[in-house]
């Protein structure tokens, strides 16, 4: 859907989603003197009313995930959840062993924690994906050791949409008594997740990927023996001391509302997103030299990532305006290197820098996708027409 000023067509829902108006109403109602703004740690009546909002939010998120509300810790977002889960679990189990397993296709919020742990003396096995982006289960099984303490594999890749089989990975972790952390920032509220049956110990999530506000997330910690983490922050004792600090009631309640809406609309959303993704791919698949990044059969429907031969990524991004999409071009990101995720899939630097990630959301229409397809094809044609031929 074009923005109200018609200057942009937002197709970057994997980066963040707009706040649902029903969510914004909840949030706005809890920050002024007319609302339940009090500190939920306070024992007076106003504090207890704030606590009720936090508890309702936990119930709503727990209902979405089919887990116990007491198994959820509120954080500032998925990055903090990832840090707390990985560093906290590694620290808790450090006396048993210091071997950890992850993949180079993880989000920076995971990769960088593992790099920091490497600097602290932990040994990390980085399992390369196959060319479709999926974890090779045989290689994974072989990497598990007697001293392995933690495995962290994301559910839905934020760049390619490739979806890992977390049930199968978790089952192997359980067999080896290894904690399993899942960064589910892209999946929560979008794909059905049943934590009562999934063998997952720690799961990171954030509100702003499911039409909630930025600045609030959660970490699921399974209620199992030996599934514990050390805190990273100290002071206040809130949330059993695992993540102290005054709870932002308005953000947490908004997250709960977003979770309730997601639970209600997930099936419809999935159908809608799948049709949009397939429609866009049909519209651009005949562009000469185009390749789809990530396994088409195991990919999350809200993301389509494509690269194309002999196109400069930064110019492509500008030529695509008014589309707001993500790019693999180094010049348009804070990172000066081509996408580590796409390189791990075996893409050349040239293909990686031409990558465009289209991601769709509830407000995206078929007409939006048709416009995007025309814009993409037109931009490729224009840039190729502009390019010089190498002299014979």
């Amino acid at each position: 859907m074009m923005s109200s000023n018609n200057e942009i067509l937002y197709l970057d829902y994997a980066a963040t989603t707009p706040v649902d108006k029903r969510v914004a109403e909840v949030m706005a109602s809890l920050i002024t003197i007319d609302g339940d703004f009090a500190n939920p740690s306070s024992t007076h009546k106003a504090g207890r009313r704030s606590t009720a909002h936090v508890e309702q939010a936990a119930d709503r998120l727990a209902s979405l995930l089919n887990c116990q509300a007491r198994d959820l810790i509120w954080t500032s977002g998925a990055t903090e959840s990832d840090n707390l889960a990985i560093a906290g679990a590694a620290a808790y189990r450090a006396n048993r062993g210091k071997h950890l397993i992850t993949m180079p296709t993880e989000h920076n919020a995971v990769r960088d924690v593992f790099r920091a742990l490497e600097n602290q003396g932990y040994e990390v096995t980085w399992l390369a994906p196959d060319e479709s982006g999926l974890l090779n289960m045989d290689a994974f099984e072989a990497a598990l050791r007697i001293d392995t303490q933690l495995v962290s594999i994301m559910h839905v890749n934020n760049e390619t949409g490739v979806t890992q089989d977390i049930a199968a990975i978790g089952e192997r972790c359980r067999r080896h008594d290894v904690l399993f952390h899942v960064d589910a920032a892209q999946a929560v509220g979008k794909l059905p997740l049943d934590l009562a049956t999934l063998p997952v110990d720690l799961m990171s999530m954030t509100a702003h990927k499911l039409y909630g506000p930025k600045g609030v997330g959660a970490l699921y910690i399974a209620d199992r023996p030996d599934c514990h983490i050390e805190p990273l922050l100290f002071g206040g004792g809130q949330q059993r001391g695992l993540r102290p600090g005054t709870l932002p009631v308005h953000l947490i309640a908004a997250f709960g509302q977003a979770a309730a809406i997601a639970a209600d609309s997930m099936a419809r959303d999935l159908e809608h997103l799948t049709s949009l993704r397939d429609r866009l791919w049909q519209g651009i698949r005949d562009v000469p030299g185009i390749v789809r990044n990530g396994d088409a059969d195991a990919s999350f429907p809200a993301i389509l990532n494509v690269s194309v031969d002999d196109i400069e990524g930064e110019s492509l991004l500008l030529a695509l305006e008014p589309l707001c999409v993500a790019t693999g071009s180094a010049c348009n990101s804070h990172d000066q290197e081509p996408s580590a995720v796409l390189r791990a899939l075996g893409r050349s630097d040239e293909l990686a820098q031409s990558a465009v990630r289209f991601s769709f959301g509830r407000p995206t229409s078929a007409a939006d996708v048709d416009f995007a397809a025309r814009r993409y094809c037109g931009a490729i044609d224009r840039l190729r027409a502009l390019a010089p031929q190498q002299p014979a």
Partner: protein
Amino acid sequence: MSSEPYNDVVRGLFGAPAHAGDLNGGITVYVADQGMRIALSTRLSQGNIGALRFRAWGCPHFIAAAEVFCMDFEGRPAADLAGFSTSEIMQTLSVPVEKTGRILVLEDAVRSLGQRVRDRSDPDQGRQ
């Protein structure tokens, strides 16, 4: 530091580069370096640059820089090509300093074009 990576001049020239194309029968040079590729073509008219065209593969600043060069040099004496410098273009387009190397590829191409023009004007050059 602006959050906007391109100024209005870059956006305008990248979006509608009036000098993009080829000149049949003209003098053409091709340079590829720093991940950028450029072809410059010119047709001379009585010692002046009668027409200039470019083709480029690169970032928006690079493409806009090629267009600025063509706009500025059409109609000027061919001898001016030897004195071409990218410093004014860098300013006009607010090119980030980390892209300096890319814009210098244009400078290399212009110098190469100037040399070809001189060679064409003085066919005896280089025989001594």
